[in-house]
């Protein structure tokens, strides 16, 4: 038993729904009680879909339990087939149905429907949403992908986009452009955008481009084994990764590497002098492993940030994330407990967070700006405009969206110079964020206070009132860092009371 308030991932059958909802011509019969239909709103409200997810819920009740939930399930299957005439059916159990052990797969098969019926085993009490997407897509490929001849021209499949994915719609457009420029045809985009009959022809492609390993890695491995299709390992988020993907595709396909980069503005935007202020900004990164790892590289190598924390919530990818964190010299944070994430962020006192909707809220509470880089996300992160994360335009979008929450270059200087100007008060936050002024950092008492969340060794540090006052003169967007550095410095020096001198000695010590 584990107490949870907010979760990064839903149950695994929600993962199966994300696959089914991205597709056409597939229907999902889910053995589940009525309340589980809430999952529809994720798609209709958050993603603003104009169609109901293709899911039939059996909605059994307590009074059915003793008698015949199995018949209820069979009836639901038949009715769903009759009404929706899908090309294939997936069936499975939610957490409650898993306990009553009706065997949806066996029951559905016995109905002798004239279309493929694919049974999903998604253990609700040990696995989560991303296991559900990956496993569902893998099972669909196994059941549906037939041996077929390769296309005469060089072609590939794009694997990984699903319903409710963070910018999946736009990423597919960008990656298709990259492939176009290399004269590579896209055979199939799956799961999102495909039908079961398209999956039957997956084998016609020469290779696979995997955009989101958390949704498609198992399927890609199986296609490699069974259909001899190699797959790409680079996730093209950021300028450098996009170039690397182009090279990787060239190597796999034998086509000449060709990147159309006329519209690539991110490198110059980063190099131009206004961006100097971005240098060394300390960022804390948390999300799904794919997006978190990509963001870490972009942050360091393309924005000139310092990555002060890196983590992911999907344990399945803990190993590569740990390796990357090591390379960055930070400790990897692998957890699905948002309180733990909040604690780690408070402790690291970053100047910016790159995270999910949870970190956005954590940032609000701690007064730290945040840009969203990964699912789970809310309705505002499904924009009307084209806003990819991948490819050329994706690199431009990353620059814009990550810089937006920060105080701009010149403004930063003005705030420092005129910090006592009542109209230019730092408490108001970045001036271009009208109504969204970040809350100033946690209230600081006038009396000597115990240090804010910090490593144990410096827990007993005390700020004298004058130093506390001086600290508050420092603009809010660097105050967290100043406090933390001063405390670290004081602890190292064996000082137990922080005075104004300690503050400025620390400043000199950390000057760069």
């Amino acid at each position: 038993m584990k107490l949870t308030v907010w979760t990064y991932e839903g149950p695994p059958h929600v993962g199966a729904m994300r696959v089914a909802t991205g597709m056409e011509g597939l229907h999902y019969v889910l053995h589940a009680p009525q309340g589980d239909t809430y999952a529809d709103l994720l798609f209709t409200m958050i993603e603003r879909r104009g169609k109901r997810p293709p899911v039939t819920y059996t909605t059994f009740q307590a009074r059915d339990l003793g008698s015949d939930t199995a018949t209820l399930f069979k009836d639901a299957c038949l009715a769903a087939y009759e009404r929706f005439k899908p090309e294939a059916l997936i069936v499975g159990a939610s957490c409650t149905a898993e306990l009553i052990q009706d065997d949806p797969g066996g029951l559905a098969e016995a109905l002798g429907l004239p279309v493929p019926v694919i049974a999903l085993e998604l253990p609700s009490y040990s696995r989560k949403e991303l296991f559900g997407t990956d496993e569902t897509f893998y099972q669909l490929c196994r059941a549906l992908a037939k041996p077929v001849d390769r296309t005469p021209e060089v072609s590939c499949n794009i694997l990984g986009p699903v319903g409710l994915g963070f910018r999946h719609r736009d990423d597919v457009v960008e990656v298709t452009k990259l492939l176009d420029a290399m004269d590579i045809t896209v055979n199939c985009v799956a799961p999102m955008g495909s039908r079961p009959s398209d999956l039957a022809r997956l084998g016609a492609a020469h290779f696979n481009v995997v955009l989101y390993p958390e949704h498609a890695e198992n399927a890609a491995r199986w296609l490699e084994r069974e259909h001899g299709q190699p797959f790409t390992k680079t996730v093209p988020i950021g300028t450098q990764a996009t170039r690397r993907l182009v090279d990787e595709v060239a190597q796999i396909s034998g086509q000449a590497a060709n990147l159309q980069d006329d519209d690539l503005r991110q490198p110059w935007w980063s190099a131009s002098v206004d961006s100097t202020y971005l240098t060394g900004k300390r960022v804390f990164i948390f999300g799904d492993a794919t997006h978190a790892m990509a963001a870490a590289r972009v942050a360091r190598d393309e924005m000139g940030f310092e990555v002060c924390g890196l983590g992911c919530y999907n344990r399945e990818f803990a190993r590569p994330l740990r390796a990357l964190a090591k390379e960055f010299g930070v400790e990897a944070l692998i957890t699905d407990d948002y309180l733990e994430v909040e604690h780690a962020i408070a402790e690291a006192a970053p100047e910016m967070i790159l995270g999910t909707q949870m970190e956005r809220h954590i940032g609000k509470r701690l007064g730290i700006p945040c840009a969203v880089i990964s699912s789970p996300v809310h309705v505002q992160d499904f924009p009307a405009r084209h806003s990819p994360q991948m490819g050329v335009e994706g690199a431009n979008v990353l620059f814009d969206t990550w810089v937006h929450p920060l105080v701009m270059g010149l403004e930063e200087h003005l705030l420092t110079m005129f910090r006592d100007d009542f109209e230019f008060s730092d408490a108001a936050g970045p001036s271009h964020h009208g109504g969204h002024a970040p809350v100033p950092p946690a209230p600081e008492a006038a009396a000597p206070t115990k240090a804010a969340p910090a490593p144990k060794s410096i827990e007993d540090l005390v700020w004298v009132p004058a130093a506390e006052k001086e600290l508050r003169k420092i603009p809010f967007f660097v105050r967290g860092k100043a406090r933390r550095n001063t405390e670290l410095f004081a602890a190292e020096q064996g000082v137990s009371e922080i005075s104004v001198e300690t503050l400025y000695e620390a400043k000199a010590h950390y000057a760069r």
């Binding site: 038993m1 584990k2 107490l3 949870t4 308030v5 907010w6 979760t7 991932e9 839903g10 149950p11 059958h13 929600v14 009680p33 009525q34 309340g35 589980d36 239909t37 809430y38 999952a39 529809d40 709103l41 994720l42 209709t44 409200m45 993603e47 603003r48 879909r49 104009g50 169609k51 109901r52 039939t56 819920y57 059996t58 909605t59 059994f60 009740q61 307590a62 339990l65 639901a76 009715a79 009404r83 939610s94 957490c95 409650t96 306990l99 009553i100 253990p123 609700s124 009490y125 040990s126 989560k128 719609r169 909707q357 809220h361 509470r365 809310h378």
Partner: protein
């Protein structure tokens, strides 16, 4: 009053349906209950699905320190490797240690906890003893196999009734969790009428919970509180039957029933209610201009459908095409059914696909439905109102009558405003 020929819809046939339901389970009630009861914590004993439901239904509104959580059952708990009761005791102890401000803890049952027959009432007893006198531990079920959406509040309040202190006083008990501002308005009206010994279930804090006894009379504020009413009856309290306080007419009839029960003079009643009645009528009239003559279809959701259909037909000039309700509690709904103009199709339960076929055939001007159905219906060209807003927004009594009508008028007005530019649905 002595005429026994059926008025309204009381004798109308009810279409009973059994098929796929598209509704929330009772856990959802926690989202407003935990705000109302300021020293209560709601601990769902359930699965990741339950936690995800609460999070999705709550959205981001209440990200900051919610007083609810889910103890997620894991493989070990199910395989009997760990004693689920020991686990629960441990989690509760940890929780109460972290939140010393909590005075009442509700253990909330879910489908999984019920299917594995985890006895939460015994757990509540045990934990109550362990944490007395600081914390009172109660339990109720919000599971989807037992409860539909607002029935969670009913189950919660019903679980509180046996614990209420006894009294012989002739008090008035208002039953239902309303926003504080609305509750205060109700109290003010009653006090103007001369009814002063008024208490509310649930209290805002544990020490404000009402007392109940043979001289207690109670009036329901919400139509979905059938089990709570039953529990109060068992304690000897008497229910004041009335339509529900929605709209000018509903509020007046509700107040009148209460006033009659307390022997308030008619003249005095009229004097007290005249001004707010006029205000409410005026506020409703503004929205009624938009709504008058429009046809409305209610999908079953919150059990508020019948009273709302009564309000919209009688005060806003709408025509009810179908009024669906997840559950029709005849005894409680009788006064509503008496008032509802005949001609509406009444349905109980749901087969969502068949019901959607009826919506398409009827082509109503406004369809009241859950969040999962709203955008899909809009993309078919229909106009919708999400039902969940009706339980999250202050809509009871005179001063909210105009807001209530406005909730229905807004989507209709919006549709008209955007009519010049038909929306192509992309995904």
């Amino acid at each position: 009053m002595n005429d026994h020929t059926p008025l309204g819809c009381n004798a109308a046939p009810v279409l009973k349906e059994r098929g796929q339901h598209e509704v929330f389970c009772g856990l959802t009630g926690i989202i407003w209950l935990h705000r109302k009861m300021q020293d209560a914590f709601f601990l769902v004993v359930g699965s990741r699905t339950c936690a995800h439901l609460l999070q999705s239904a709550a959205g981001v509104m209440i990200f900051a320190e919610p007083r609810f959580g889910t103890a997620i059952l894991e493989e070990g708990d199910l395989a009997g490797l760990k004693d689920a009761n020991d686990e629960l005791d441990r989690e509760v102890a940890r929780l109460l240690e972290r939140r010393p401000d909590i005075r009442q803890l509700f253990l909330v049952g879910s489908c999984p906890s019920e299917v594995i027959k985890l006895d939460l009432s015994r757990a509540a007893e045990r934990l109550s003893q362990a944490h007395a006198p600081n914390v009172r531990v109660l339990n109720f079920s919000g599971s989807g196999i037992e409860t539909t959406f607002t029935q969670g509040e009913d189950a919660c309040l019903a679980s509180m009734v046996p614990e209420l202190a006894s009294t012989d006083a002739a008090n008035l008990l208002l039953v239902g969790a309303l926003p504080d501002v609305v509750e205060d308005q109700a109290r003010a009206l009653l006090s103007d009428l001369g009814i002063d010994n008024v208490q509310v279930l649930p209290g805002r804090r544990a020490d404000q919970d009402p007392e109940v006894g043979p001289n207690t009379r109670y009036a329901l504020l919400q139509p979905f509180l059938g089990d709570t009413a039953g529990a109060l009856d068992k304690r000897g309290a008497q229910r004041i039957a009335a339509p529900f306080p929605f709209g000018e007419e509903g509020t007046t009839l509700w107040l009148k029933a209460v006033a009659d029960a307390f022997g308030i003079e008619a003249d005095h009643f009229d004097r007290v209610t005249a001004a707010p009645r006029a205000r409410a009528r005026k506020a409703v009239a503004a929205a009624a201009q938009t709504l008058s003559g429009k046809r409305i279809f209610f999908m079953p959701d919150s059990q508020l459908e019948l009273p709302l259909a009564r309000f919209l037909t009688r005060e806003c000039g709408m025509e009810a095409v179908e009024v669906g309700t997840p559950f029709l509690h005849r005894a409680i709904m009788e006064p509503e059914l008496d008032l509802l103009p005949g001609g509406a199709r009444l349905s109980e339960g749901q087969d969502v696909e068949k019901q959607l076929d009826r919506v398409r055939a009827d082509q109503p001007d406004l369809t009241v439905c859950g969040l999962g159905l709203a955008n899909p219906l809009e993309s078919e060209g229909l106009t919708t109102k999400w039902a969940i807003e009706l339980v999250f927004t202050p809509v009871h009594f005179y001063e909210q009558a105009g807001d209530l009508a406005g909730l229905f008028a807004r989507p209709v007005r919006r549709k008209a405003l955007l009519a010049a530019q038909p929306a192509e649905v992309t995904p």
